[in-house]
């Protein structure tokens, strides 16, 4: 049920279906590699076709080259870099804060049953309103800008990382803990050599999904609560009906999200999981 179920490809070989060798296999491998591009190509084709046939106004649906041109223009003017960097900086601050507080809080709560039980209703409630719901209230406290966006991201990421950490900490089998203790390990050693590694896969799962929620919260926050950033860039473009900037911005938002997931989080997660080997489900099942 994990992502790797599909990524491994047919027969788990990483290549084309079947185990045949020779040129046919390499061809199939190439096809398999290129396959993920087809939906993008189809959408692009449909877009161009619709644009050529229906000739919608530029405000409704701009031509593909207009979108590219708009992005290029913004990039040359340096505006694009400002927006992207502002967004990424806020995301980094919010996620860093959220992970730090979430992990520390998760350890404290996960290791203390009474506290966990006392806090659990509050956690459920505040998790339900985490993120964008705070915007109207906090905008009055922090004003428009980076602090507001960071608060909203922190608020979103914290609860996800926190809940996952608590889960991870609580699920570490007691036997391991007792094993270290029986060998004379103190509280600190139990924490660092049993509970932390045991909970790490959960923490990382939390981080990964927290980043997904955080990125959404950021874009939503920037729509109204910022003067720079990608969200503001596309929302500001609405006033002038600049669909080219909006679509370009949306594509960029998707690309950044996918790049972060693929090159930042997936490798970290896989390395931890491989190292501590706590996952054994679908990754080997197919």
């Amino acid at each position: 049920m994990s992502d790797a179920a599909i990524e491994r490809g047919p027969a788990g070989s990483g290549g084309g279906p079947g185990g045949r060798s020779g040129p046919r296999r390499t061809l199939q491998q190439v096809v398999w590699r290129l396959l993920p591009l087809t939906p993008f190509a189809l959408v692009l084709l449909a877009w161009v076709a619709y644009w050529v046939i229906a000739r919608p106004s530029a405000a409704t649906l701009p031509a593909v080259q207009d979108v590219a041109a708009a992005l290029w223009e913004l990039a040359v003017k340096g505006e694009l870099a400002i927006h992207v960097l502002a967004s990424l900086w806020r995301l980094f601050l919010g996620v860093a804060l959220g992970v730090a507080t979430g992990v520390i809080g998760g350890f404290i709560v996960g290791l203390n049953k009474p506290i966990a039980q006392f806090l659990s209703p509050l956690i459920v409630f505040f998790n339900a309103i985490s993120g964008i719901v705070w915007l109207p209230l906090v905008i009055g406290w922090l004003g428009i800008g980076t602090a507001l966006a960071v608060f909203l991201i922190w608020n979103t990421v914290f609860f996800i990382v926190f809940q996952n950490t608590v889960l991870g900490v609580q699920l570490v089998p007691q036997v391991y803990e007792q094993g270290v203790q029986a060998l004379g390990g103190g509280r600190w050693q139990t924490l660092s050599s049993v509970i932390l590694p045991g909970a790490l896969p959960y923490i990382l799962t939390g981080l990964r999904s927290g980043l997904g929620f955080g990125w959404r919260a950021l874009i939503a926050a920037e729509l109204v609560g910022a003067t720079t950033g990608l969200g503001q860039m596309i929302f500001g473009a609405t006033e002038y009906h600049r669909s080219d900037i909006i679509i370009g911005g949306c594509l960029l938002i998707g690309l950044i999200a996918i790049a972060m997931d693929r090159w930042l989080l997936l490798p970290i997660e896989q390395r931890t999981i491989e190292r501590w080997g706590l996952v054994f489900d679908a990754r080997k099942a197919e």
Partner: protein
């Protein structure tokens, strides 16, 4: 049974809190639930009383209670809340009806699944709310805009998880049924649906988490009713009491929807088909 999985849950899933273990019929349960909130309100009150806050910054719990009564007695709150609930309910239904068949169709074919996976990930990266500016240009400040945003937000995780669920069904099950001459419909009914159901529910739950927030955010900007409109509209007049009332209602509604509708479905599927073990 608890819903905690033995292994880390699939990516992107917030596991249901292990904190809510314990019998349903414990006599102390309601007290246990209310006590932390009482403590929170006491702290809030103490902060409020400790210094002179302008009513534009922080109000007392009493003021929020009065705002709540005021909104309820005029029927405004019910109207805003029902707008939001209708929207999320309709969007969830629509996404399931459209998304699950798509997920099946794509999931049964490994080439289609492989082809679409990256695309769906990309779409998931563009949050629904990012499309709001474009949707506003296309559909104006209407309910249609909100609906489009929420359905988009919900449908992507549903399609994605349905597809993953179908792909994860062990091949022998399909081969067994097929060799016994099962029709396509039969395959869907007896293999794909039960096999993928836990994963579909996971997708629905994740989608509801994203979708509810997207709904609130969209309502804030579209300003055509709904709880997001309520709290964002109150911002313009600096009515903190109304904002906090709205936040509490949003939180309670989400907990109710999640706990009373989505989670029982999840428990039911998990208990019935037992994919997640304790």
């Amino acid at each position: 049974m608890t819903t905690t999985a033995a292994a880390p849950p699939p990516a992107g899933v917030v596991p249901s809190s292990p904190l809510r273990k314990g019998g349903v019929l414990r006599p102390l349960r309601s007290f246990r639930i209310l006590l932390p909130f009482a403590a929170l309100i006491a702290v809030w009150w103490a902060i409020w009383a400790s210094s002179e806050f302008s009513p534009q910054v922080l109000v007392s719990p009493v003021a929020v209670w009065h705002a709540f009564l005021h909104l309820v007695s005029y029927g405004v709150l019910a109207e805003y809340a029902s707008t939001s609930l209708t929207m999320i309910g309709f969007a969830a239904l629509l996404s399931l009806v459209v998304g699950v068949p798509i997920g099946f169709a794509v999931g049964v074919n490994r080439y289609a699944a492989h082809a679409l996976e990256g695309f769906l990930r990309f779409l998931q990266g563009i949050s629904g709310i990012a499309w709001l500016p474009l949707a506003i240009i296309w559909f104006g400040f209407t309910h249609t805009t909100t609906l489009v945003i929420v359905v988009y937000t919900l449908i992507v995780p549903i399609v994605f998880n349905t597809m993953i669920g179908v792909r994860a069904i062990p091949e022998p099950y399909m081969l067994a049924l097929r060799s016994l001459g099962a029709s396509r419909l039969r395959m869907v009914k007896d293999v794909y649906l039960p096999g993928a159901l836990p994963s579909i529910v996971v997708g629905l739950r994740l989608g509801m988490g994203y979708g509810w927030r997207a709904l609130i955010a969209a309502e804030m900007l579209v300003r055509k009713g709904g709880l997001g409109d309520l709290i964002f509209g109150a911002r313009t007049f600096g009515q903190i009491d109304r904002i906090i009332t709205g936040m509490i209602v949003i939180g309670c509604l989400y907990v109710v929807v999640d706990r009373l509708i989505v989670q029982p479905i999840e428990n039911l599927t998990v208990a019935r088909w037992g994919v997640l073990r304790q």
